[in-house]
């Protein structure tokens, strides 16, 4: 009992200002990581690391992006790589737990305590014990990472002539990187050498998708499987269907655009082409591994990847972007408006107006941020619109796919990307939470007037 009260007290203090807590936590991890990466121990013998490189790498790892200014494998020592791995893990877990807790806090503030009303155990994740949920998040993460690491390691040992140590290390590194949607690889060509190897690509894809769906969806799937309740929440339904639609649609478009491109899919077998397309479609939201050379794809493919990267994955997962839920919600708003409906309905449930405004705010601020950042990148660097826009969206969506311009950007450009990664990782979550928790009931209203629209 006492224990429980203490826990609740600590949690209350942390959630009194959730946005600030999460921001400060991430900033602290990035600062520590930057310090650790700047030590000579972190770089290979003969290499040294300046502040900007260390800061960029630390931000990229903690915000699980995967953009790099220097090659991970050749620059960093094993210690440096482990530091990066630790930051990815902390960043991924941090985002998942923080977002899950925020979901819970928001749920509790916005709904009456279900057990008070019905006397029954609540179905909603919002009414779980926070400590237990964190333990579940941790267990879930470790389980998925272990399974992926074992499969990858076995395959690396069997087919790539790696000795056991190398295979286990590489398998673990890629498993953690994939589950956390970080996209850091140990090869300078990301996953290009595995492009037509289903034994490598499928576990990576699965891990990325699992991490990207978000913990609340997995929790719900688990409950559903145990027959503890029947109805799916709208959030889970939309996230799962949205992921499938975006994945299959992205695969089809990627394959269609690139089928005969000699720089990308051209040389592969039919099966390899489909595998590579599916892999690219998954990792665009938002893991950032690439099994084909992104610099070689057509412009229309870049645009499609831009869209996928911007949308991202599920809420309270390791993915970035504005999130599938936000995107789908705006789609439903548009549909309701076109049909002239008085309210927005999703699967027999009504969306509250503040929910709609939240989605609009997150999405449009994201667009504004990317447009502004792209403008700066165009000004300070010699690169063209397609490449700078891609890099900006990749940083904002914490994707980490790159057309290869990041290492050649001037320091100002790299700082812009650092800011984008930080805001893209924390902005949508904390902004969403801040909007949902906005606690200022207004006691008066003013008369209505309509603005002309369109």
């Amino acid at each position: 009992m006492t224990q429980d009260v203490t826990n609740r007290h600590l949690l209350n203090r942390l959630v009194a200002n959730p946005s600030r807590t999460v921001m400060l936590g991430f900033a602290a991890v990035i600062a520590l990581g930057t310090g650790a990466l700047m030590t000579p121990l972190a770089a290979e013998p003969g290499e040294s690391t300046d502040l900007l490189t260390a800061l960029f790498t630390a931000t990229s790892a903690t915000c699980v992006t995967g953009l790099v200014t220097i090659d991970t494998a050749s620059h960093w020592s094993t210690f440096g790589e482990l530091v990066i791995l630790a930051m990815i893990q902390i960043g991924g877990l941090g985002v998942m737990s923080a977002a899950t807790l925020l979901v819970m806090v928001i749920g509790r503030r916005l709904t009456a305590p279900a057990n008070v009303l019905t006397g029954a155990e609540s179905r909603s994740i919002a009414h779980r014990n926070p400590g237990q949920v964190l333990v579940d998040v941790l267990k879930f993460t470790l389980l998925v990472e272990m399974v992926t690491a074992i499969v990858l390691s076995l395959r690396l040992r069997a087919s790539y002539h790696a000795d056991w140590g190398d295979a286990l290390y590489s398998g673990l590194f890629h498993a953690v990187s994939a589950f956390n949607n970080a996209g850091f690889g140990l090869h300078d060509d990301s996953a290009v050498s595995w492009v037509d190897d289903p034994w490598m690509c499928l576990p990576l894809m699965a891990s990325v998708m699992v991490g990207g769906l978000g913990f609340p969806v997995w929790w719900e799937m688990f409950r559903h499987w145990r027959h503890q309740f029947q109805r799916w929440t709208v959030h889970a339904t939309i996230t799962i269907w949205g992921s499938l639609v975006l994945w299959i649609g992205g695969t089809a478009l990627f394959a269609a655009f690139e089928w005969r491109n000699d720089g990308t899919l051209g040389p592969l077998s039919t099966g390899g082409k489909i595998l590579a397309s599916a892999f690219q479609s998954v990792t665009a939201r938002t893991a950032g591994f690439n099994s084909v050379d992104i610099d070689g794809v057509h412009q229309q493919t870049l645009l499609m990847l831009d869209a996928l990267m911007f949308i991202g994955g599920g809420s309270a997962g390791t993915a970035g972007g504005i999130k599938i839920g936000t995107f789908a919600l705006l789609g439903f708003v548009i549909w309701a408006e076109i049909r002239g409906e008085p309210t927005v309905r999703i699967f027999h449930r009504r969306l509250s107006p503040d929910n709609q405004r939240q989605a609009l705010t997150v999405a449009l601020l994201g667009v504004g941020l990317i447009v502004g950042a792209t403008g700066v990148l165009l000004t300070v660097s010699p690169f063209r619109l397609d490449a700078t826009l891609f890099e900006a969206i990749s940083a904002f969506g914490t994707v980490g796919m790159s057309t290869g311009i990041t290492p050649d950007l001037p320091p100002v450009g790299q700082l812009v990307l650092i800011a984008l990664m930080f805001l893209g990782r924390l902005g949508p979550i904390t902004l969403g939470a801040a909007l949902a928790l906005r606690n200022r009931p207004r006691r008066f209203e003013v008369p209505t007037e309509r603005l002309l629209v369109g």
């Binding site: 207004r442 006691r443 008066f444 209203e445 003013v446 008369p447 209505t448």
Partner: protein
Amino acid sequence: MAKYDIAVIGLGRFGSVLALRLERAGRRVLGVDISEAVVDNLKEEMRHLAIAEARDEESLRQLEITADTLVVLGMTDVTASLMAATALSELGVREVWAKAGSRQHYEALRRMGVSRIIQPERDAGLSMAAELLHR
């Protein structure tokens, strides 16, 4: 300086005419009523309007009615009028004027320290009597 010179609470026939007249004379006037329809009817002509429950002190505070604002209570409903007067006195508003619909209403407002109270029916009757006597 207070945000508004005058706040008119209760925008019925009495309150709305008063508020509009003051606004046209260039005063910064806030009009408040509980009914959205009443407020919406005035939106073409008045700049500062609010739909609010005036008996709630917090609402009054959020409407930025301060001690320096002159508040006119235009509502006929005795309960609403007295509750609003109470909330205003708790807020420290120094000058409250009011309209009273009955003698008892007048009496209650007076005892609460409302400085100027008019009783339209009574006042109109008296003024018509005065007119008749001067014929």
